[in-house]
């Protein structure tokens, strides 16, 4: 009995760690796509953020400066995407793919040139990283069964970015549904013409949304290199940007379901790690690859009919052309 409880506790603990970058990147995608800009480039922006965080944290010795650099670098790439999609009305998917390729190549080359470690940044120690923190009262509550155990062993003991990601979910929901900015973002993704004729600039709104997406991807990237790991490694995002995109679609472009989807995907991932070498009764050893591919299979299967049709914002992917003669 205790074994199972420990297993679950450990799995949930790992779930949070794995889900954090998904939450952040999916929220990034939420802003961008709710404003009508497809964001395939989540992956690339995270990667750029991870590299900038790893490099700057190493140079300055401060994880926080690394985080700032990550957000700026990622916002720079977001601006590039904005320029291509909003100002020049290009194809948003193509631009996103280009962002991903550029990010992968640029981080590798700069990494090789600056650090000579096969594209990685040097390992980070101490204040160069976001270290785990213990939530107040965690030790005292440890002995309370189940709830105390959950608080002390699952919720407590993560780095600050995990908590920031969790708090960003209600915050983003609030921004999207309770503020003027959120109303306009939702409107511009559905019917940009309505926004334009109401006297609000479509381009400006979309730039702001895309930049917010950049900032959030930057945090997600910093989390990868300076919190979850202790250095930047080549292509370390490893598809997590696409996973976040899947979570976004899965959640039908809504903030709270994004949290649920990210946690589900994170749990499956954590399970995959825990299941290595474990053989189940009757089935035997489950191939890790199968569990690892579960989030993708789940997304396809569920989107194919079980959760109903995913209704994207109506103007998603369409450049806004003012009617001209």
């Amino acid at each position: 009995m205790n074994d199972i409880l420990t297993f679950i506790t450990l799995a949930l603990d790992a779930t949070l760690r794995v889900a954090t970058p998904l939450i952040l990147a999916a929220l990034a995608g939420l802003f961008s796509e709710r404003s009508g800009i497809v964001d395939i480039g989540l992956e690339g922006k995270m990667l750029v953020g991870a590299f900038a965080a790893g490099a700057v944290a190493y140079w300055t010795g401060s994880a926080w400066l690394g985080l700032g650099a990550a957000m700026l670098a990622s916002m720079g790439f977001a601006l590039l995407h904005g320029l291509a999609c909003i100002t020049y009305q290009g194809n948003q998917v193509v631009s996103g793919v280009a962002i991903n390729i550029l990010a992968s190549g640029l981080t590798t080359i700069l990494g090789l040139a600056w650090f000579h470690q096969g594209g990685s940044t040097p390992p980070l120690v101490g204040a160069q990283r976001f270290n785990d923190i213990t939530l107040p009262g965690a030790d005292a509550l440890k002995s309370v069964p189940v709830l105390g155990d959950f608080y002390a062993n699952v919720l407590s003991g993560h780095n600050i970015l995990v908590y920031i990601a969790l708090l960003l979910v209600p915050f983003c929901a609030w921004v999207l549904y309770k503020t003027r900015f959120g109303l306009r973002i939702r409107a511009v993704g559905e019917n940009p013409k309505a926004v334009d004729t109401a006297g609000v600039s479509v381009a400006l709104l979309r730039y702001r949304a895309v930049l917010i997406a950049g900032a959030l991807c930057g945090i997600a990237g910093a989390y990868l290199s300076t919190a979850q790991n202790a250095q930047f490694i080549r292509d370390m995002t490893a598809g997590q940007g696409f996973m976040a995109l899947a979570a976004l679609i899965f959640a039908k472009w809504r903030p709270w379901p994004i949290l649920a989807a990210a946690l589900l995907f994170g749990f499956l991932d954590a399970l995959a790690i825990r299941m290595q070498g474990v053989s189940l009764p009757l089935i035997g050893q489950v191939p890790v690859q199968l569990i690892e591919s579960l989030p993708y299979i789940l997304t396809v299967v569920l989107l194919a009919g079980f959760i109903g049709k995913a209704m994207p914002p109506k103007a998603l992917g369409l450049p806004y052309l003012k009617e001209q003669r």
Binding site: Y177, K178, T179, R180, F181, G182, L183, R184, R186, A187, E190, N191, K193, A194, V195, T197, A198, G199, V200, K309, K314, R325
Partner: protein, 515 residues
């Protein structure tokens, strides 16, 4: 000018001109709009009405000329400025976010504070007052997509009033309404002018001008050609001013002997991709030598009916018989096969289905018939034959310009439609399915297209005419089928037609249901 010199003017335009490249969209426009009146602006498509309205709403800046609002000369740089001066606009295509409630749509862009909570509370209060004052019943908390078109239009009007509009511009406001809904709109407009609001009504429907306006200004080819007091003019005079020559407003109707049955539809049901029943157990027939009109407010199943008859989508249940051929739910979808049965189709939306806009005119002219032997020579198309066909049809239908190499997109709406209609008529079909033949087409071309349809009928062909223009349906049809919510709510013979009856059937207000 027929305006009382003592009347106070809400809006004045003096010598306003606007040019786009070589096109003079507006030339030396003068316009005086009396406060608290309904002023109509009438003109054909491309006469420059929309450009003029865009100038008044601040979307375009005039090249020269002056605009005065309430006697003050102003420079309009953008719509925000127009809004702040009390100018509101109800666009032809509503500017609404469908997933938003009426309230959210109305406050969008005029929210006040950064937080919605306080804004919505005060906005709701204000709106309830406006609603009560003007009799504009609108539910504020239901998503717009679930509301009828008439209500959506009221939301647009509310949107303008909420921004303190004193001059309200309405661009073709009745295009999407039933006659009854249009009447309701006119009542609302009257109430607004009684409260001192000035209404500028843009339309191409002469009857509307006569029904609701106090003054009317006529535009033709970018110029203001006449100003009249509505009470002192007639439909015939306005039509002539619009077109620049006398117009025969009704087509000549002659008796044609009914031939054999060409089309019979039995218990036809069509579901769309999302599973909604668009056509519900429809039964009717069509004989050689007759035009059957399908009337109804757009979006009541006519489009799906037309598409299923043309073989573009599959029926869910029921049968369609074209003489010896039949379409059932099991028949594979094959529009080309349906064409080979002698069924031609002029689609409702010529941009999406009738033409390939980047194609050159002579290519669009044979679209759908490109596999016919006469247009093929070995492995390639027979370009000589294609060009010959275009030259012949362009001459016969007076397609302008004649150039076969011009892209389809570069033709005016009327000429694009002529390309499509000439192509389908040229195929000498036994059955012609026509959707909105004169949508966005100017009066001169409308007259011509109507004549062509009547000629085809005289040659003993069967025509199914789907249109939202009641006048068109009434003047051309031998029989009229009315659709509402996917059902046929009535069938009216030519002799029994009147607009009130059709309007009631279009709203399904008679309560009867015919099979």
């Amino acid at each position: 000018m027929s305006i009382d010199p003592n009347a106070s003017l809400a809006l004045e335009l003096l010598e306003v001109s606007k040019q786009f490249g070589a096109v003079k969209a507006n030339q030396d426009i003068n316009l005086s709009v009396v406060s608290g009146s309904v002023h109509g602006i009438i003109g054909e498509n491309g006469a420059g009405k929309s450009t003029l309205m865009s100038i008044i709403y601040g979307l375009y800046q005039p090249d020269k000329g002056q605009i005065r609002v309430n006697g003050q000369a102003i420079q309009l740089r953008n719509p925000q400025q127009a809004i702040s001066l009390g100018i509101g606009m109800v666009h032809q295509h509503f500017m609404l976010v469908e997933t938003f409630t009426a309230l959210e749509n109305i406050i969008l862009g005029a929210e006040g504070g950064a937080l919605l909570k306080t804004t919505t509370a005060t906005a709701r209060q204000q709106l309830e007052q406006i609603i009560a004052r003007h009799g504009l019943a609108v539910p504020l908390d239901i998503p717009v997509a679930e509301l009828s078109v008439g209500v959506q239009q009221r939301i647009e009007i509310l949107k303008a009033l909420y921004r303190n509009a004193r001059i309200l511009i309405l661009d073709e406001p009745t295009g999407v309404l039933t006659p009854q809904e249009a009447d309701e709109l006119f009542v609302i407009l009257r109430q607004l002018t009684a409260q001192g609001v000035t209404v500028l009504l843009i339309t191409h429907k002469l009857r509307e001008i006569m029904a609701i306006t106090d003054q009317v200004s006529v535009m033709r080819q970018g110029r203001m050609v006449a100003h009249r007091k509505t009470a002192e003019t007639t439909i015939a005079e306005l039509a002539e001013l619009m077109v620049g020559r006398k117009v025969r407003h009704t087509v000549e109707y002659s008796e044609v002997a009914l031939g054999t049955e060409r089309l019979r539809v039995k218990d036809l049901v069509v579901r769309d991709a999302s599973g909604v029943e668009r056509v519900k157990k429809v039964n009717f027939h069509l004989n050689a030598g007759e035009i059957v009109g399908v009337a109804g407010v757009s979006g009541n199943g006519q489009s799906e009916l037309l598409q299923v008859l043309a073989g573009i989508i599959s029926p869910t249940a029921g049968e369609i018989h074209y003489s010896q051929h039949m379409i059932t739910p099991k028949t594979p979808i094959d529009a080309a096969e349906v064409r080979r049965w002698g069924v031609a189709h002029v689609p409702e939306d010529r941009h999406r289905m009738g033409l390939v806009l980047p194609f050159q005119a002579y290519e669009s002219q044979i679209l759908g018939y490109q596999s016919e032997p006469k247009y093929n020579k070995g492995l390639s198309q027979n370009y000589t034959a294609m060009l010959n066909t275009y030259a012949e049809q362009a001459e016969k239908f007076d397609i302008r310009p004649r150039s076969p190499y011009l892209k389809s997109a570069s033709f005016s709406g009327g000429n694009q439609q002529k390309i499509v209609i000439s192509r389908e008529i040229n195929a000498e079909p036994e059955v012609l399915l026509v959707g909105q033949p004169t949508r966005g087409v100017d009066i001169g071309a409308i007259e011509f297209i109507h004549q062509q349809l009547m000629e085809l009928r005289a040659r003993g062909k069967a025509i199914l005419l789907v249109s939202v223009e009641l006048d068109e349906i009434i003047s051309l049809s031998d029989r009229i089928i009315v659709m509402c919510d996917g059902m046929i709510t009535g069938e009216v013979a030519r002799e029994e037609v009147n607009e009130t009856l059709l309007g009631m059937l279009m709203a399904n207000a008679t309560g009867e249901q015919h099979g």
